[in-house]
């Protein structure tokens, strides 16, 4: 037993000796990088900041129902929260995905983000996009603003509590037709989400606006409306990235 303990100690000591060099220097370098990335004035000006009024997160239990929507129930125990290990495994903080962008397969790291009141989660490439939680809707947009003259690139997500998708999509169709007269017929889709899709282009030029809207069930009596705006030239770039983001969209209740 003593020989084994000595052996373990030797391994520990050896790895320690070979990994402890220049730690102080690295610590300072890393902290400087963190300050710049997380706490600099530039980051604050860009609006990339933590929500200082973040609501207390109630950690839930997940049950998957046949429709594929995750229904999550929260339970209160004597300690105040109850969870199943499944939620930690279901929603990893980050993962790598392969997405086809402009005809090429691209490996991308994406990070878990949640909607207002934790109504949904989805994965976003935080090197390119940010999720801004709002009162009536959440908006995903590019971190860096586009050059002047380019239409907006956004994905809006909002919940309408009292109208089912098959009714709501017709209302949205009539609204969108005002800016997109050539809007296509309502289409039932199963990807990237299951529901109704509206798609239209405001022209055939590279910078012509595109709208791509999805109206899906919220698992109860209402709907989620997800509206993407980009431009024709960006269809295989931003449009494709939005498509992949939506593939990770999960409703949480």
């Amino acid at each position: 037993m003593n020989q084994v303990n000595n052996f373990d100690k030797r391994i520990s000591d050896e790895i320690h000796a070979r990994t402890v060099q220049d730690i102080r220097g690295m610590k300072d370098e890393i902290w400087n990088g963190l300050e710049k990335e997380l706490f600099s004035d530039e980051r604050l000006k860009r609006g990339v900041r933590r929500d200082m009024n973040k609501r207390k997160r109630v950690l839930p239990i997940i049950i998957t129902i046949a429709s594929g929507i995750l229904i999550v129930f929260s339970l209160q125990t004597s300690t105040g929260t109850a969870v199943m290990k499944g939620i930690k495994e279901m929603f990893v903080p980050e993962k790598e995905i392969i997405q086809n962008i402009e005809g090429m397969d691209e490996e991308t790291d994406v990070q878990l983000n949640e909607g207002t009141d934790a109504e949904y989660v989805l994965y976003i490439d935080e090197t390119r996009y940010k999720l801004i939680n709002g009162e009536s809707e959440d908006i995903i947009t590019t971190i860096d603003p586009l050059p002047e003259g380019y239409p907006e690139v956004t994905m809006e997500i909002k919940q309408v509590l009292d109208t089912q998708p098959d009714v709501l999509v017709k209302n949205i169709e009539s609204v969108l037709k005002q800016d997109f007269p050539e809007l296509r017929e309502i289409e039932e889709v199963i990807e990237p989400v299951r529901g109704f899709q509206l798609h239209g282009a405001a022209g055939n030029e590279a910078k012509s606006k595109i709208v791509n809207a999805y109206v899906i069930s919220n698992g109860k009596d209402g709907s989620f409306v997800i509206t993407q705006y980009y431009f024709l030239e960006a269809a295989e770039g931003h449009g494709a990235r939005f498509h992949h983001m939506l593939e990770s969209f999960e409703i949480v209740e």
Partner: protein, 179 residues
């Protein structure tokens, strides 16, 4: 302030709490990343990215479970991502190691330095060893970090220690039952 207080305050963007947390975790994180990536620059990038992710995604941490495996899972994944991106020669192989224990042994010829021997092992064995001997994680914790079955971790640690022991004590047989 203790760790739970730091983590609570980090949720609200408290820089001071984050710095306390950083000071508590950075040294072992650097050592672990250095051992996994074998590169100062990659280790630095991995550690920095890990702390960024912790700060930004602290809400996704479930406080009913231990924090360290969650933190080191992010760190290990980041190290592997950088290794892959930089086309390291090692791959994190799951299937082959169980059936081909000789894979790692082929590369041991000519290596007398223990650290070199460890670093010559396949990632599937090397990384659990690093997590055990740098951070002192148990088999259960290593399984959580690497999202593996605990028995798989046990087997890989056993194989790793056996390979190292054979290098250090080629003519002696040790009692393997201590684990």
């Amino acid at each position: 302030m203790d760790k739970n207080e730091w983590l609570l305050k980090i949720r609200f963007g408290d820089k001071e709490a984050f710095h306390h947390f950083y000071e508590a975790y950075v040294e072992y994180a650097i050592r672990t990343a250095t051992a996994i990536t074998r590169s100062r620059e990659m280790a630095k990038d991995a550690v920095q990215e890990t702390f960024i992710r912790v700060f930004r995604q602290i809400e996704s941490y479930n406080p009913d479970y231990p924090f360290d495996p969650w933190f080191y899972r992010i760190l290990t994944n980041e190290c592997m991502r950088l290794l892959k991106k930089n086309s390291s020669s090692s791959k994190f192989i799951h299937a082959d190691i169980e059936n081909n224990p000789g894979i790692a042994e082929e590369s041991l010829d000519g290596l007398s330095d223990l650290y070199d021997v460890i670093q010559s092992l396949e990632d599937a064995i090397r990384i659990p060893l690093i997590l055990k001997y740098v951070k002192g994680f148990t088999e259960k914790e290593i399984a959580e970090v690497l999202e593996l079955n605990q028995n798989t971790v046990k087997t890989r640690l056993f194989k790793g220690r056996k390979l190292l022991r054979n290098q250090l004590f080629p003519s002696r047989e040790e009692d393997e039952s201590s684990e």
